[in-house]
Amino acid sequence: MTVFLLPLAPYLLWLVYAALFHPVPLAYNWRSIWVRKAGTLSTVGAIAIVVMIFVVVLSMAQGVSRAYVKSGRDDQVIVLRQNARVEMMSSVTLAQARLISTHPLVARDAYGPLFTEDIIVSKQLPLADGTGSLTVTVRGTTLAGARMRSQVSLTAGRWFRPGLSEAVVPQSMQRRYRGVELGGTITMGGRTWAVVGVFDGSGSVYDSEIWTEVADLRQAYKRYGMDSSVAVRLRSPEDVPAFVRDMEKDVRLKLEAKPEPTYFAELGDAGKPMQVLGQIITAILTVGAVFAAMNTMYAAVAGRTSEIGTLRAIGFRRREILASFQWEAILLTTLGGILGAALSLLFNGIKSGGVNMKTWSDVGYAFAVTPGLMAEGVVFSILMGIAGGFLPAWRASRIPVTEAMRG
């Protein structure tokens, strides 16, 4: 966006300057917009649609990365096998896990060290709309793990108890999948797991995971002596580099530790293709919208030749006419931009999901129409106004007075 704005900045500044210090008849332009209602509405409508598509597609990408950003805390570290990249591919032995739990930098609360050993497996679940099934992540974790993920809060039922093959399921999964409601059962690893609780992960990736007790899951999947990953909370975020170094240097460990924000940011790249696709789509559509705006503005100029002549005759200079019509085009497209940005709000919060190609499991996210994205959409519509309005405005400023007065 800034790439386009920078070269245009001098022109924009001049336009603002002209509007402020020259007698540019902006009120006249504003009224003129509403004289040709059909033309105005069609241009505003077309531009609103383009801006809406732009904001909504980017809000999907935003939603994906937001789910990941929300998942990390900067005083927490996740420990994986070297080069494992994702928890599912990682393995940490129980002996290593014990060693990490006694590290002096690990924070404690009333119940003990804020340390959790997790096992990640995946499970195919049927979709609620009956169109197939998707793979979701199942996390075997501990109660300390549940406390450490402060985004997560229990909304119904209770947490799992060790040894009873119990699972808790996020609220957001209930609508997307079949058979995961409170009191239901899930079959995996040759066992039947009772759903005893429902939690809310407030939009983080944990909203896409089923949680069970780690020892139960280890037994069911015969991962004897193994965890997938270990996560710890440190006394303060400043301790992170020292802790990461210890994990790598200790010969008994030789593990890769990543601050949670880094780990999740790497996974959050999953939103990239969608973002690129959205940008390509918008770029193509913008060209179409600019042509449409140009059409409307040319018609406006052609229909008001005698008015332009009058303006010139009573003393408006050429560049003031140029600024005046350029402003009219910008007003027109910005109306469309604001309408489009407002319409895109209708999509805010819509839940969707996609499979992360790094973890092979389904991650739910919500469209995130942020004020920033909406502002970007409006700026975008201003650009369209400049692009679509310049030639017609230039033409308006070049019409000879005598000819214009004749009509």
């Binding site: 990249r85 559509l285 179409g288």
Partner: protein, 387 residues
């Protein structure tokens, strides 16, 4: 037909307006054609030469889990099964993680036979087939993939997998030419390499691909296999290969909803734009139209002349858009194919062309009807007075 020149003249009465509208339509149709073809291409990939006669036996809980290789014994005893092979997704990277392509560990003895349509078995020299089966480090690659990295027969390809945390050095023994470019975008090697290097893969495979003698037997076969392993520690899920591929595609995300919504919104936008142009064009000619009617044209004739004008406008717009899309499809296939292997087969599909024709018709008729009808019914005296 005799009025064609009249329609053309009227259409180009205001050249700039017509050209701008046509361009605006063209880029929008261009986008719709590309997006819809993207979906069409994705759909077509779920079906390949022999996929109709194959089924996949995977772990019931998740396709990422492995199942015992000993399940093969049961498969071997089923009379409807012609042949089967085991495979495991390796997730190997060549030089750089961004060089993504599919690579599997397979059983070389049976693999070529089960996938004989896809790798075009009759065209592979017998010497290469023998080398592939004998050399434990052998691998088979598709022509398109080999071209991309400049591999030749006998080259050594190091593949590093982050899933298994090992690096394999594989010898290229077969380079095959498939029917489609996307069929040539993968590499396969002997699963024993993996089972020897990774302790927990010993005696295990990712899934089996089973080729049935008769496609009609598949539902019965799926049912029997799953029933046999029901209540075991690892239950199986058998599905047709097309359904398996469809599941994989589903993982790419719900692009079809997105594409259809965008198509709908864009159609709305170009309908508004075209309707505006036609309304302007007709309003300007009020007097002209009344004069024509005064000369003896009937209102139905006027209506059809105006409608023809609208149709022609939308035809020019979408025609140009489709031509642009067809020209761009090659580029998209080349550029996209280097990032996403399946994009190598990207073409503007027949369904897309049909859709574009429908769009053109609907656009021309819908955008013009209201103003044209009003103009054709206007009392002649009114229109002449408007001068």
């Amino acid at each position: 037909m005799k009025f064609l020149s009249l329609v053309l003249r009227s259409l180009f009465r205001s050249k700039r307006r017509t050209v701008l509208t046509v361009l605006s339509l063209a880029v929008s149709v261009f986008l719709i054609a590309l997006l819809q073809s993207l979906l069409g291409t994705m759909d077509s990939l779920t079906v390949s030469g022999g996929s109709g006669t194959r089924l996949v036996v995977q772990d019931k809980a998740s396709f990422t889990n492995v199942i015992p290789q000993s399940y093969a014994n049961f498969l071997r005893s089923q009379p409807e099964i012609e042949n089967f092979t085991a495979f495991q997704w390796f997730g190997g990277e060549y030089q750089d993680p961004r060089n993504f392509f599919a690579n599997f560990a397979v059983e070389p003895e049976t693999y070529l036979d089960v996938y004989r349509e896809e790798c075009n078995l009759p065209s592979i020299p017998p010497g290469q087939v023998r080398d592939f089966k004998r050399d434990g480090n052998a691998c088979i690659v598709g022509q398109e993939l080999a071209d991309r990295f400049g591999w030749k027969l006998g080259d050594v390809v190091p593949l590093r997998s982050s899933i298994f945390n090992i690096t394999l050095r594989l010898n290229v023994r077969i380079i095959f030419k498939g029917k489609r470019k996307s069929d040539e975008m993968y590499l396969a090697f002997n699963i024993r390499q993996l089972q020897e290097a990774v302790p927990w893969m010993k005696g295990r495979v990712g899934a089996f691909t089973v080729r049935a003698r008769n496609a009609a037997d598949i539902p019965r076969l799926c049912d029997r296999i799953d029933r046999n392993f029901a209540n075991s520690a690892q239950e199986t899920l058998s599905i047709t290969e097309n359904a398996f591929n469809l599941n994989m595609m589903k993982m790419l995300g719900d692009y079809s909803t997105m594409v259809h919504s965008i198509t709908g919104a864009v159609l709305m936008a170009i309908l508004i734009v075209t309707a505006n142009t036609m309304a302007m064009a007709i309003r300007e000619r009020t007097t002209q139209i009344s004069t024509m009617r005064a000369l003896g044209f009937r209102s139905s004739q006027i209506l059809s002349l105006l409608m023809a004008e609208g149709l022609l406008l939308s035809l020019m717009g979408s025609g140009l858009g489709i031509v642009m899309a067809i020209l761009a499809a090659d580029v998209a296939a080349k550029v996209g194919g280097s990032i996403l292997p399946w994009m190598a087969d990207f073409i503007i599909t027949g369904e897309t062309l049909l859709l574009c024709v429908l769009i053109t018709l609907a656009l021309g008729l819908l955008s013009t009807f209201a103003p044209a009808y009003r103009a054709s019914r206007r009392p002649i005296t009114d229109g002449l007075r408007a001068l």
